[in-house]
Subunit: 402 residues, 4 copies
């Protein structure tokens, strides 16, 4: 293939754009991961991740794995085969985690929700209330369903669980949420949260993060699911000293140090605000095109990815492949049930207005080239309008006085 000039516009909802300084920080020679100075690198990482999870009491684990490994760590450390869990399924990723639970031998009670909606707190409450015997050990929720651009309300789910007076643990997949949209481990009394490096954390893929409450840690002894690689215990034995039970992915750890510094400098609340502004601008473009999101209503809107329904009769896959081949724009494909029906614009990670406008321009051109009846420039103009009125940098971020 001939050289493609210029940069690829990466707008899949992960892996996301990695800041150059993070990429640079990873360019390090190998080192002895058992040296006396290695903990100078590693110990602050655990502390930094706790801030991102918004937890004081939780314990964070770092696995050399993808987020899928984090999912497995979550289940395998806390549950025994045959244990009952409650899940909601409404997209490819909530499906895959549900499927994993089944394959691991759990007894999975699935709430099937319409794709384009998310976990319904009222139905979860109902199910928990009905579970008089407290057989349900854990409720599994995907915070941000990347396949459909849907965010579930974890705070509301926690409230529903409390209302039901049910002792089940709350497990949350925030792979494509953490570091991009608000997540409050302690305040929402989450028991186990799973994330990965390649989304809001602005790193290459290769690290899985799991944050675990003391309550969830307490049940690990009873867990009957076999595991060694993902066993919390081996990490609990070694992490406090700054070490790991096996060779860690040191280059990614160096990158993590830098990405945590990026997050600290921009500020988590500022980052959430920026994601909201860029998402809103994207939604303004979708409106201007006269198209619809997969997300059924604003209640479900995700600030990290917009899944856009192609008009009847147009193959979304063609919009995506043409955008890639002709305009060097990587859009997210529709997965499973929505394959061919949606294309996705990820607006997550290290992103700003002009990157997004470039992507919106590209999506627009690809749709036009594929015969979609939209007005040229309309999406861009609507997004511009929104962005001019809403700076991505939160104004209150500046301290008011010395």
């Amino acid at each position: 293939m001939a050289r493609r000039p210029g940069r690829n516009f990466l707008f899949v909802p992960g892996p996301t754009n990695v800041p150059e300084r993070v990429l640079r920080a990873m360019m390090v020679s190998q080192e002895d991961h058992r040296s006396p100075i290695f903990p100078e690198l590693t110990k602050p990482l655990f502390e930094g991740l706790k801030k991102v999870f918004k937890t004081k009491d939780g314990q964070v684990f770092i696995f050399p794995s993808s987020g899928t490994g984090g999912w497995e760590a979550a289940l395998a450390n806390t549950l025994a085969p045959g244990d009952k869990v409650l899940t909601a399924r409404f997209g490819q990723f909530s499906h895959l985690w549900t499927d994993m639970a089944m394959r691991l031998g759990l007894d999975v009670q699935v709430q099937e929700e319409e794709w384009g909606t998310g976990a319904h707190e009222e139905k979860i409450e109902e199910a928990l209330v009905a579970d008089k015997a407290h057989e349900i050990k854990a409720v599994m929720v995907v915070h941000n369903e990347t396949a459909t651009g849907v965010t579930s309300n974890i705070a509301a789910i926690r409230k529903a669980m409390d209302a039901a007076g049910h002792p089940a643990l709350l497990f949350v997949d925030s792979v494509s949420g953490l570091g991009s949209i608000d997540f409050r481990f302690d305040e929402w009394k989450v028991d186990l949260a799973v994330s990965g490096s390649q989304k809001g954390l602005m790193l290459p893929a290769g690290l899985g993060f799991v944050c675990v409450s003391q309550k969830a840690l307490a049940v690990r002894k009873n867990a009957g699911l076999n595991r060694v690689y993902f066993d919390f215990q081996d990490h609990i034995n070694t992490n406090p000293g700054g070490y790991f039970p096996y060779t860690p992915a040191t280059n990614l750890l160096h990158g993590l140090r830098e990405s945590l510094a990026c997050i600290e400098e921009e500020g988590l609340e500022n980052i959430f605000h920026r994601h909201h502004v860029l998402a809103s601008a994207t939604r303004a473009a979708v409106d201007a095109w006269g198209l619809k999101l997969c997300a059924k209503s604003p209640r479900w809107h995700s600030d990290t990815v917009s899944a856009i329904l192609a008009p009847e009769g147009v193959d979304a896959a063609k919009i995506i492949s043409h955008a890639y081949n002709r305009y060097n724009l990587a859009l997210g494909a529709g997965l499973s049930k929505v394959a061919g029906k949606v294309f996705r614009i990820g607006h997550i990670g290290d992103l700003n207005e002009l990157m997004l406008l470039g992507a919106i321009s590209g999506a627009e051109m690809s749709m036009l080239d594929n015969g979609v009846k939209i007005e040229a420039g309309s999406g861009v103009a609507a997004a511009q309008q929104y962005l001019r009125q809403n700076p991505i940098e939160k104004q209150e971020a500046t301290p008011k006085a010395a």
Copy 2:
């Protein structure tokens, strides 16, 4: 200053965007520049640059310097104090080279041209015809005046010189032209061409390139301008073996190897085509905004940079600083005579459609924020329209048969 998320959109007309693989190629440990294997790196660079200059007979020199150093090398190796040269001045860079010639003690005959136009071949012919005594030793022309977005017609100037039957040497500054718009050293009988690394060659600044004809090399012995650092002779003594008279900037040489490979892969003619398409799209946007270029007519249009006149009463400097501060877009400022009157969009180097559309969006928003009366999205829509119809990849590039 707080961290700025996302990438800077670099649209000054140099330094230009450097392909990641070129940046990567420069990440090398230091080496002995007198080692037996060093020439494996260096010798092909001279050959590669000759292809870019389109020369077989010319000799290329590589200086650890900016393009300004190349200018000085050109003059100091070929002329003696008091020697007469003819130049045309029509922008900040043609001014600076003219000024350098004066400071070096040359007798400079300046053709002042209106900014927005370039070197007028007919006037050059006239001046040469008038110079019966052949006192003019060299004609100095800036191929692409970066300050005003004007390209002069070097082929026509050569024709004019031939028509005048005058033996003056032809010196061309193609700093912001080479590798982006067509340049034909041999065919146009250029005697000395100057360029730099940070424009069409897609490298960081730090290398000056000078291509010299045998005719120009022949006069170097008579040159009375003092110089050592820029003396061709020391390079002539060492370059054939693959070495340099002093320590070369080896990391940039590694980068140069990779950028020459990029150029080879994309193909020079394809690259010129791409620059023409992106420039045309930019001009379509300017038209749609109802604005005018600094370049007075299509004859002078530059395919590497567009200098755009801000409407009466609007300070172009504010458009530029707002674009930088609010949208992380670096536009080129108006220099000298056109300061405050123009802003420049460089469309040179490693660039594609969506990068350009992002920049056009940003310029549009900055103008709107500064009260310029344009229609939101209009420039983007016009550019999109052009780009959809004109692929940046030349269609004929694909061989028609096996």
Copy 3:
């Protein structure tokens, strides 16, 4: 801590020194791992790894994990809880794999061997002969025990298994062997081999490699050990197209492409030869010091790491920490049973003579500073002597004729 000038001498037996070009190759922006061009990167990786494993029939899997993950993948995909396996334990890593098998619920028959020896093929044959009922499903062997510098003879073990006429699968951990000492998957009829990226493959940690025979793949359906992340099946479903069941660690894959190119260029047999020469030079130094290896006899000598016994009364840990703190030399520590008794020099990965001599010098100085009675310079002189007579580049590597 103040800046330490110069390079760290990394002589732990992994992570190993990564060639600069491999590090450089990893400096890539993120990309869509579901793009149409992604397989151009990934497909050749599987082919390249097969060459390194020396297999045509085996299937290679690449996990975003450490080698420990590879261990778990090996067991979890082929065995059911309660299945019987035979292992030999003679060092920390053969211990850990044995321990993992136990924790995963397998019925582990352990042959305890003296540390400093390895797996005894004659005893394995005996055990298999005794297992008339063919209850033993697999024989697990560590090819190169990193903790003691011991290499077991896999070819001999295969012969023993054949002699016993036993159908058990042969599982080999070659984490610190593959790509450094000879390994022949097909010829030795290995059924499952595990390795990692951070040893002979000259990459950062973060990838686990597993090579599986068709015979071993055939039993995966019967495997009752729960697993999803490490399930071969999901990879079998996606790898042929060049994709993965979850987000792969793309930067490491780019690095892997480059490290495979390095291996190809140097040549596997040349690499084995180089490791043998550097190991022999190290052993010459140990001899000259009057010290002993942990490996009991030449039969067990490892060409990738030498574990050296500190003299009676000297704490090996002090030699190691002093070497690190004073001379910036990272030696491998004694683990478990041999803690404080041995220090290890890893001579594996991207290494040459002078790097090794620097490390031997450092070990020598640290021993002298710790009161070990050796002659200054004696180890270096002995190693030099060996190295002068034995080039690291195999002479036969040059083809004898056109």
Copy 4:
């Protein structure tokens, strides 16, 4: 050529080994060198360099050039053709600077000194005393003659000039001295000091540094040597704002920021100490080999490079080429008068004990392979002995109390 495993041992006296963090800092995308934030990068560089030169009153200039460009800047900004200068010539670099002065049209009074000695302060005093008419405008001295491993005593030369009561300016080439051996611009009343990036500053080649006293700046108006590229005035006009008269080599400036941080962290005095220790260890090895330095007596010993005389009848060039080809060790060649007679070990830049011992080992093996009668290991042992007793980190560096 086949891949060479492991790292090259770079022991030419420049380019020197660049710390990985400096290399990493240079991996930055291009930027607008006229942006409002560019001075945040550049202004501290001038301040940092002043600390390295040990000046408060001097002004530092940064040129995109090699050190040779710095030489030319020095002469061209302060002298007119025909001006008389006094120089001492005792090696290839003092020769080249002398030669440049001649080629630039200066009237050069040369003190020829035996190679292996340096500038003799007593003879300089004599010459200045004899110059009753004060025709000598400047005394040019090479601080550290890289070709012969000789350091001249600048403090003593200043004293001699003062004793002579002569107003000549003092020009010093400290290309291979600055940042490695002590240099005191203000205290020694140096008027103009020249250096480059690729030696003690631990950067790739590509930047020339010139530090100029107010006294020297004052005469720049009278300077009749033509120059533009190297004209101080253009820099004086732009540097205070943080800008440059032409496009600077931004990637090297990013590297410079990091190398200045390295110097700050290690501490200049610590760095000088380290160079002295490594140089002394090298000289101990030379002694042990029974060989002689080119430097005639300890008075002339350089702490950044040792030029070693090969024994009668042995071609030093063979020792060098064999070291390079067989052991991947780059030694410095003998230049001009000492070609074939000396080989040089550069012990300058980012270096530590084991790197040096590796190089000494390599030199030792190459000499042995070339038939030099030395005892194997003898040089290494002597160097080890010295290094064990003399830590490279100055003990007083630690503050004595809180």
